[in-house]
């Protein structure tokens, strides 16, 4: 599903050049649950952004669903992303001016789904996340855990093949954190591929595989999982 070859990302600012990713090779198969761990600033979020087609690499190849994407335009990347990738963030990133229901409905609007069908889908996703009762609340009327569940509902409502989660439990207490991890686990067991960045070894336990990053590279001694080839 995901194949990254010699993936390199260099940030250039006026003073310094930061190599966030350094010739990184990575393969993720369909149905996998991968956790990415590593010290702060090692390039985890950068990797996730490239995997999510929010950003493009400076060098190397990134193949998603059998398409080489490194020379895609912003528009092409948006197209490929839509419906295929769901995002979950540490700070939830719900739109404050929209209710839970409207937040979850948003990706379906961009997919151009008929309102009737999309209402059904939203209800379904909310029910799944146990958020039906809060559907008309605004984000600031919810607890952190509830906000993250709404965000997950928004990520899964399009039934994406891949879910990318950047420290999804980072802003939650352990009780709510576990709740969220259980939801992700359940999603994975129904076939959704999940790549998650985390600092918590407990959360990482939910994954099938843990990748350790260091200085933009996969840490020495870690087995690089290879399939097929």
């Amino acid at each position: 599903m995901i194949r990254a070859k010699q993936l390199t990302k260099v940030y250039r600012t006026e003073e310094i050049e930061t190599t966030a990713l350094n010739r990184l090779d990575l393969v993720v198969d369909e149905g996998e649950f991968v956790a990415i761990m590593g010290p702060s600033g090692c390039g985890k979020s950068t990797l996730l952004n490239i995997m999510g087609l929010l950003d493009s690499p400076t060098d190397g190849e990134y193949i998603f669903l059998n398409q080489e994407t490194s020379d895609f335009s912003e528009r092409d990347r948006a197209k490929l992303r839509m419906g295929n990738i769901g995002f979950i963030f540490q700070n939830f990133n719900l739109i404050d001016e929209l209710t839970v229901f409207e937040n979850v409905e948003l990706p379906l609007e961009y997919l151009g789904m008929k309102p009737k069908k999309s209402k059904e889908k939203v209800e379904q996703a909310l029910e799944h996340m146990g958020m039906t009762a809060r559907r008309n609340h605004f984000p600031n009327q919810l607890s952190g855990g509830q906000q993250q569940r709404a965000a997950i509902a928004r990520a899964v409502v399009t039934e994406p093949k891949l879910i990318l989660a950047d420290e999804p439990t980072g802003n939650l207490d352990s009780g709510h954190g576990t709740e969220v991890m259980e939801l992700l686990s359940a999603l994975n067991s129904r076939g959704t591929t999940i790549v998650m960045v985390t600092h918590s070894p407990v959360d990482a336990e939910f994954a099938d595989r843990i990748i350790h990053l260091k200085d933009g590279m996969i840490a020495e001694g870690e087995p690089v999982y290879q399939t097929g080839t």
Binding site: G52, A78, R81, E97, Y110
Partner: protein, 844 residues
């Protein structure tokens, strides 16, 4: 460098692409969703939204009003179907090839000459003549209604072919063929005849001639450079004036307004040349030596905005006003749009998370731009609707201020709607483009992390725009204040004679003037009437006459001409003008009436006669060989209005009864301070004894002189109002921006406070940028104002000291701007200064 350029070009191309996307692309998110989130955002910041909406609405309303005014001005005289073929002939007297002004009037016989010699080029010639009288008295003998009419004209029958005059009754080809027939307006008819049918009825002209009403015309449209209430023929004039044929053959006298309707496709430049050629031999008979005459053709539609020549039928407007108003309108619109842009981009920063999320969920840049464009389009339409309401409510006041009834020209409702819609869309695009471009350009990764890479750059652009706003408002503020001071200067200028206690009674063509001596003697019987005299025109007015008069030391080939006024005895007493040498006119010298003149000091200087004493006894000779002796020299005074320099002047007494009748237009009465009622009643009772034909009429000199400057004053006060609207709109924007920057910098302020920043320090932190912007804006405005003001002032012979007043108004504007903006900012800064740092930091 090259990289930089390609980068810029790429950026521009990108923007063009986005713009095209905005216009052409589709939006997947429906309108309801867009407006829903827009409304929730506006509701979240009510002050901000109200400020934004009000600013834009007020700007749009001002622009609409000014726009309508300009359209109204441009529509003058356009209602005549042959408008593009009608020209007015103007005449300029040249002295050694140099013109001293240009008159709207021409001689009587010009019509005939043009008709016979330029038959193939000119279809018709129409003249208007008002007897050079301010008004004539018209009476209905049946009910004794008698009124002075100032829109009475003698004209040629072709008037109905050339001009579109709407005849309600009567056949245009016949109404003026009979002598002593007259066409009147509906309104005049109702005044004299009420409900009765006026056709065939009689009106008495000046108590002497019976005119029969042969036609009824509609009131002339407001957008006409002059209006007529009465039209009669020159055949009628022939019956009124015994010596008409003699007078109407004079080329030296130019009392009529002449309009030509040229044949289609005539080369106007060539025609003008031909007319000069054709008339030259006639003019040369009367203008010899250094003098000559220059004729020119002025298109009908250009008359209203020409600023006016001498002897206009009615005062006209000037193009300059249109430019001034147009610039002010554009300024205000720019201010309002900048407000909108600044406030919207500022507000956009608060929506970066939304943009990030939408991008992550699949929206591309064009689509987001369209979303925000839709918002601002909607917002602008809202403001536009509000602006329409505001302008509709303000219209009566605007009309009051401009002294005009505004009609949207000849535009139909449909045209107007289209124009307004286009206007609204242009504003929406202007105001919405930049915020949309900024918002849609946010990088999703950065926005979701709460990092604004564009934040800094946006801030600089906002500062640039605020700078533009401050520059505009300071130009308007300084400009308006300078105009105000100049007008005050003119108004307060000592004309050199008494204006407040002087009452003027129009006597031209009345029978009262036949009994001038009796009138004067009986008037003086009243205790509050101190002096009585008469004059050709009121002093200080725009009227003056030039006569050929040669001083005794002039060369044989010189034909100098000077301003001369006919006055009656005691004029200096009435007007409180001092004699500096010699003596006043006196009844003790029987020769005074035929031979004496007074000159002013300006004449002494102009002729280099040394001093006033030496000038007494010198002589002038007129073109008939008559000799006049200077018996006295007066101090200088402004006998024409202040748009002209103080000029050399000769005062002369009329020598005969006929000269009195022909030249004395006003009785001038000096009354004692206090209540003038009694004096007026006294004058009126004498008047009714002496003249039954003309109703008694009077005015105070200062009132009339103030009227002279009224059009300019109106423009000035309208400008003043809009300058303050501009400042208001600008301050609204500043208020919004300040409230925003306080909100954005809340954390910064909190941190600094935690580190020991005091409340005044907070205030300084938040306002120092604006202080510099205001100072910089004034520095930018200064040369602009200087150039514009010195240009404008150069038209005035009496003008304020520009450097002094500019310094003054500059400092005043600077201070006022600083006060207003610091006041505005401080309402917001107080919030920040009172902020509890602990709470603010926790909120983050």
């Amino acid at each position: 460098m090259f990289n930089f350029v390609t980068h810029k070009v790429a950026g521009t191309l990108d923007r063009v692409k986005v713009t095209l996307g905005i216009i052409m692309g589709s939006v997947r998110v429906n309108l309801y969703s867009i407006l829903k989130i827009a409304f929730r955002n506006w509701r979240k910041k009510p002050l901000f939204s109200v400020i934004n909406l009000t600013g834009l609405a007020v700007g749009i309303a001002s622009c609409l009003l000014i726009g309508l005014f300009i359209l109204d001005e441009l529509a003058y005289d356009k209602h005549h179907s042959n408008e593009d073929r009608i020209y007015r002939v103007t005449q300029s007297l040249l002295n050694n090839g140099e013109a001293d002004g240009r008159a709207a009037t021409t001689p009587f016989p010009l019509k005939q000459t043009v008709e016979t010699e330029l038959a193939g080029y000119v279809e018709s010639v129409v003249r208007f003549f008002d007897m050079e009288s301010e008004s004539v008295s018209i009476k209905n003998p049946d009910n004794d209604i008698i009124i002075r009419q100032d829109k009475f004209f003698f004209t040629d029958p072709e008037v109905f072919d050339v001009f579109d005059i709407h005849l309600l009754r009567g056949n245009p080809s016949q109404v003026l063929t009979e002598p002593n027939s007259v066409v009147i307006t509906e309104q005049v008819a109702s005044v004299y005849f009420g409900e009765e049918d006026p056709i065939g009825k009689t009106l008495h002209f000046e108590g002497r001639i019976a005119l029969t009403i042969s036609g009824l015309m509609k009131e002339w449209p407001d957008q006409s450079h002059f209006k007529a209430d009465f039209l009669t023929s020159f055949e009628t004039l022939r019956r009124i004036w015994g010596n008409y044929d003699q007078l109407s053959d004079r080329w030296r006298w130019n009392p009529v307004w002449t309009y030509l309707m040229v044949e289609p496709n005539v080369d106007i430049i060539q025609l003008e040349e031909n007319i000069r050629e054709a008339t030259r031999p006639y003019y040369e008979e009367y203008f010899t030596g250094a003098e000559s005459v220059d004729l020119a053709l002025q298109p009908l539609s250009g008359i209203w905005l020409s600023g006016g020549f001498e002897s206009e039928i009615e005062p006209v407007s000037s193009e300059l006003n249109l430019y001034i108003f147009g610039i002010v309108a554009i300024f205000i619109l720019v201010l309002a749009c900048i407000n909108f842009i600044n406030l919207s981009t500022a507000a956009a920063m608060g929506r970066s998370k939304e943009v990030g999320v939408r991008k992550v969920l699949g929206a591309d840049r064009g689509e987001l731009a369209r979303q925000f464009m839709t918002e601002s389009l909607f917002f602008t339409f809202l403001a536009f609707a509000l602006g329409l309401i505001i302008s509709w409510l303000a219209m009566p006041y605007f009309e009051l201020f401009t002294g005009r009834s505004i009609e949207p020209g000849h535009m139909g409702f449909g045209d107007l709607t289209i124009l307004l819609t286009v206007f609204a869309i242009v504003i929406a695009l202007l105001a919405g483009f930049y915020p949309s471009a900024v918002l849609s350009s946010f990088n999703p990764i950065d926005s979701l992390r709460g990092r604004h890479s564009k934040g800094r750059k946006g801030a600089n652009i906002r500062k640039g725009l605020v700078l533009a706003q401050f520059s505009i408002t300071s130009v308007l503020l300084i400009g308006t204040t300078l105009v105000y001071f100049q007008h005050k200067h003119l108004q307060e200028k000592d004309l050199g004679f008494e204006t407040e206690q002087v009452l003027a009674v129009p006597v031209y063509l009345t029978s009262a003037i036949w009994s001038y001596d009796e009138l004067k003697q009986r008037a003086l019987e009243h205790s509050s009437i101190q002096f009585v005299s008469g004059a050709q025109t009121i002093l200080g007015s725009s009227e003056f006459w030039k006569y050929d008069l040669s001083p005794d030391d002039a060369g044989a080939d010189e034909t100098p001409s000077f301003n001369k006024l006919f006055v009656m005895h005691d004029i200096l007493e009435v007007m409180d003008i001092e004699i500096v040498a010699g003596r006043d006119f006196s009844r003790e010298f029987s020769t005074d009436e035929a031979q004496a003149i007074l000159i002013n000091e300006a004449m002494v200087n102009y002729l280099n006669w040394g001093n006033a004493e030496n000038s007494v006894g010198r002589t002038f000779r007129n073109s008939n060989g008559g000799e006049f002796t200077v018996v006295g020299v007066t101090e200088d005074f402004n006998h024409t209005y202040l748009r002209r320099e103080l000029e050399p002047l000769i005062l002369e007494l009329p020598a005969t009864q006929n000269q009195i009748l022909a030249n004395i237009s006003y009785l001038l009465v000096r009354i004692a301070p206090g209540n003038p009622r009694d004096a007026i009643t006294h004058l009126q009772s004498i008047w009714t004894d002496l003249d039954q034909t003309h109703p008694f009429d009077y005015f105070f000199l200062d009132d009339r002189l103030n009227q002279l400057y009224e059009p300019e004053q109106r423009v000035a006060s309208v400008m003043g109002v809009f300058a303050f609207i501009a400042i208001f709109v600008g301050s609204l924007g500043l208020l919004g921006l300040a409230s925003f920057s306080v909100a954005v910098r809340e954390k910064e302020v909190a941190v600094r406070k935690a580190l020991g920043l005091t409340a005044p320090g907070v205030f300084y932190l938040l306002s120092k940028d604006y202080v510099w912007l205001i100072i910089l804006a004034h520095v930018i405005a200064l040369p602009v104002i200087y150039i514009a003001a010195s240009n404008w002032l150069s038209d005035f012979p009496y003008r304020i000291d520009l450097i002094f007043y500019l310094t003054f108004t500059f400092l005043m504007s600077l201070l006022l701007s600083l006060l207003i903006s610091i006041g505005t900012i401080s309402t917001q800064a107080v919030k920040a200064a009172l902020l509890d740092p602990a709470r603010a930091l926790k909120n983050e």
